[in-house]
Structures are given as structure tokens and as C-alpha cells.
Symmetry: C2
Subunit: 326 residues, 2 copies
Amino acid sequence: MTPSQKKYSNYKKLVDDQLALLIRKKEPASLYEPAQYVLDAGGKRIRPLLVMLACEAVGGTAKQALNAAVAIEVLHNFTLVHDDIMDNAAARRGRPTVHTKWDSNVAILTGDALVAVAYRVLLKTKTPAIAHVADLFTEGVIEVCEGQAYDKVFEFRRDVSLDEYMVMIAKKTGKLVSVSSEIGAVIGNGSAKDIRTLRQYGELIGRAFQIQDDLLDVVADEKTFGKPIGGDIVEGKKTYLLLKALECAAGKDRQMLLSVIKNSGTSADNVGRVREIYERTGALAVAKVTIERDIAKATSLLKKLPATPARAMLYWLSDMLLNRHF
Amino acid sequence: MTPSQKKYSNYKKLVDDQLALLIRKKEPASLYEPAQYVLDAGGKRIRPLLVMLACEAVGGTAKQALNAAVAIEVLHNFTLVHDDIMDNAAARRGRPTVHTKWDSNVAILTGDALVAVAYRVLLKTKTPAIAHVADLFTEGVIEVCEGQAYDKVFEFRRDVSLDEYMVMIAKKTGKLVSVSSEIGAVIGNGSAKDIRTLRQYGELIGRAFQIQDDLLDVVADEKTFGKPIGGDIVEGKKTYLLLKALECAAGKDRQMLLSVIKNSGTSADNVGRVREIYERTGALAVAKVTIERDIAKATSLLKKLPATPARAMLYWLSDMLLNRHF
């Protein structure tokens, strides 16, 4: 383990320990058992890490931002629980989803309670800027809902453009990442300029993270990835790759991609063919370049911040996200 | 219209006007159309009225508390949207429910967005006690979720006691009413004593309101009530009346009530018979006395507050709730 990995693991433990203690009540069990189940599921805890690092990067401490960090992670988990219902997803992180293990009603209510639990821990943050912090958090919730609404509508549309997709992921995934770094900077009492820098850093790595997700579905090593390659293609998901390839593809390639969209997916046998189209049209290359460019921009923004161990960890974080295989 | 009714109508208009303007964005339409549809549905707006009156009763102004009042109403509407999914309810206030007019996914997401919209308007409240206000609001959300969780579990249990029912409705319905008066008092900068008085007032009228709801299902005039009498009996809902009657009924009466519970309802033909059991066991009389006692206690609490026009309106409100037929 490198010193940075060790540090990351320490931050992660801080968050995991809080999450384990967060749900104090046992009753009603139909609410708090699934809530605890969700919070116990693990995860990379990237968002809370960002909250704490951003706070430190502007002169605050990680502990100061811990409640907000936990709140963001709980909020993220709320979105997973409700999204899984809407997406009919049977499993997440190798375990049955809440609506599968219990039922949809339980999952709806568990998600609702998690939102409130998130606000409860957020509001424990000791800062004169608590109203500002709560405002940012709330705008995060709203945009995540907007992003998910677009995502669901896009499933039934055949003419989604790459631009529309970028707006959607900026809301659905990007916003909560940028809110994380922004809230951390506010709690750390950063200057308006530092707060803006860290929000922009979050926007960039959030976007890169999502495109990377789309890319990994096609190029990852199946063993490290933990799920079959090409799942997005089989499901007909309108990913960065599919929409980018569609901008450039012609003839039979174009017909193939359109058929994936029209039939809301394709057989696993066609994954290789679609992947070839992604290569041929340059979609794969463009995705890689876009991710690298976003990460480079994000990294370059960090130069505006004072050189601190937290900033070094933010460099490490963008690098880690760029090179992740999972 | 009496002067009090006129005043009530003015307060209601304040809230309705804000609700009409609350959703400014149009896109994504799949999120904001149903959200607007919900907020346009009308309603008695009792909770926001309470927020404003409580604020005035401790020396504040209604306008000061308007954002919080609107927030509570939006939060209430969120609970209706999600509860309607869980209860498979096809109609509310004479219109199709969101999940019926659109679908469950839209309804889940609309409810989620309404929670965030509620926090957004709440956080606009100008008060140094904003963190306290947001805390109370958040505890409200959590208890409403707990109450709904109990309610859903109770549907499948045959041995729910009246005491358990009282805990459930205190959370599911009572809490948001008491949070309304409590938040109003905090925003109006009331003393700790005044805040407690107004919270207790809210708890009492919230409980009376729910028992009244259960009572009206059996004794209301069908025309004024707007829905068929005995609906709760037909659906086998474990109401105050059913659980109270079960405490006292014996022989065939007891068997009849148990069969309603066992079969999760009964035919409309049996409504008269069950109603007779409610009378014979004294359940009806006890319900009426309980409501009157709660309202009397609530009214008596108000004596602790200075004599103001707002206090007069709170007297009027408890009286109106006691004598309502809808």
C-alpha cells in the first residue's frame, strides 16, 4: 500500500465507522433494517473523501467536514435505492437490491428515510455557513432527481444526442461529486475563489468518472470489473460510446447501432461487433481523450490551491480515477 | 363567511399563491409536470396555516413564516405521492394519483423532488434559528417515514393493539402537525415555553384530526364527505374504531371484527353491522369523547399564550377541526 492508499483507507474508515453507527433505532425494523443493509454495503466512498479533502485543502480539518461527508454518502445511497427500483435492478455490489430482498414499498420508504437521515447528519455540521451548506446539498438532491428523470425519459427516446447525454450525466452523477467538493470548501471556510475551484474540480472528475464507467463496460478486464463486459450494449443503454459512435457511424455500422437503440438492446453475441464499431468510429479514442482532458483540467485547477497534503491527495484521487479498472 | 373563515381563506390564498409559483422550471417535464399537478390539487392547507398562526401567536408575522409554511405543505404532498404508490390508491381529491396518471417511477421521482423543493423553500426562511428549524423539519420527515412503515406492517398483522395504532398515527399524521406549530413558534422567536405549548397544541389537534378521520368514515354524511361511508371497513383498515371495538367486543361481534381483519376487509353489505358493533361496544362514543378531550386540552393550552388575533384563530381552528364534516 502506498502512503496515499493508506491515507485513503484511513479516510474511508472514518466514514464507514460513522455509517455503521448512524442508524441507532431498531424499530420499525421494516425501515431501519433495510436502511442499515444499504449503508453496510460498502463502496469506494469517493464523495465523502472529496468533502473532507476539499475542506482540508482550504485550511479546515477532515473532522470538521465528517458529518457532511457522511451525509453526502447517505444521500448517494438513497439515489441508488430508488434508482434500482426504477431500473428493475436485481443486484448491486453483489447483493440483492432492497426492493428485491424486501419489496418496492420498503425500498421507496427506505430511500425516503435515507434522505432525512442524510439531512440530519448534515445539519450536525458546526459552521456559521450551515444554511449555505444545506442549500448546496438541496440543489444537489434536486439536480440528481432531474438527471434521473432525463435518464428514464431517454430510455424511451431513439434520438438522444450526445449533448443531451452530457447534460443528463452532469445532473445525475456529476452534480453530487461537485457538491461534495464545494460543500467541503464551504465548511473549511474557503474563499469564494477556492470554493469555485473545488466545485469545478468536482464537476470535471465527476464527468470523467461517468465516461470512464461507460468505457470500462467495454474495455475492462472481466475479472477485475466484477460483471460481464458489454452489459450496457446488451441492455441498449445510451452511453457516451453509443451516442458518440452514432454521431460518426455510417452504413451498416449505423444500422447496427440504431438497431441496438430501437430494440432496447441486443444479444451478447453482438457485443464484439458493436465494440468494433466503437473503435472504428473513434468513439473509444474520443472517450479516452475526453477523460484524460477532463482529468488534466481538474488537476491543473488544483494548482490554484495552496500546496498541502490534502491537495496532494486530490492529485492522487484524480489519478486513481483515471487509472481505475473497477 | 364569518370573519375567521375570511381570515382562513386569506392565509390559504397566501400559501396557494406561493405553491403556484414554486416550480419555476419546466424541464424535465416528466418531473416538473407531475410536481406541479400535485401542488395544484388544493387541500385545506391546515399545516401551513398552523405554521403562520404559531409564528404570529408568539409575536412574529405570518409573512416571516410563509416559506416554512409552504415547505411543510410541500412535504405533506410528498408523503401523499409516495403513500399513494404504496397503498395502490387510484385517486386523491377527485383526480388520478401521480402513479396512475403517469407511472410508479414518475411518482417515486416526483416525491423525491418534492422533498428537496420543500427543503429549498424552507431554507429561504430568514431566521438565526435556521439550523433548529431545519432540524425540526428533518425529524418530521423521519417520523413520517417511521409512521408509514408501521402502517404498512400493521396491514399484514392481525394483532395490532390500539396503543400501537396511537403510536403509528402520532408519527404518520400527528408529527407533521406538531412540527408545523413548533417551527412557526421557533421562527417567531418564541420562548422555550411558548414553543413547547404550541408543539403540544399541534400534537393534540393532530391526533384528534386523525381519530376524527376514522370517525367520519362511519358517521359522516355521504354527500359532504365526498366518498362512500364505511370505506375503511370495506378495506379492513385498522382504524381507531375497529381496534377500540375489538378491545371490548365479545362473542359474535368479536368474530365479525376478527373476520374483517383476517380477510383484510369485508363486503359493503356488512358496513351497517360493523357500525352497530362500533356503537354497541362504545367505540364510537369513546372516539368522540377522545376527540373532544384532545381538542379541549389543546384549547386550554392556548390560554398560556398572550391574547392575540392569532390565538383567536387557533381557537377557531381547533373548533373547526372538531366540527368538520369533510
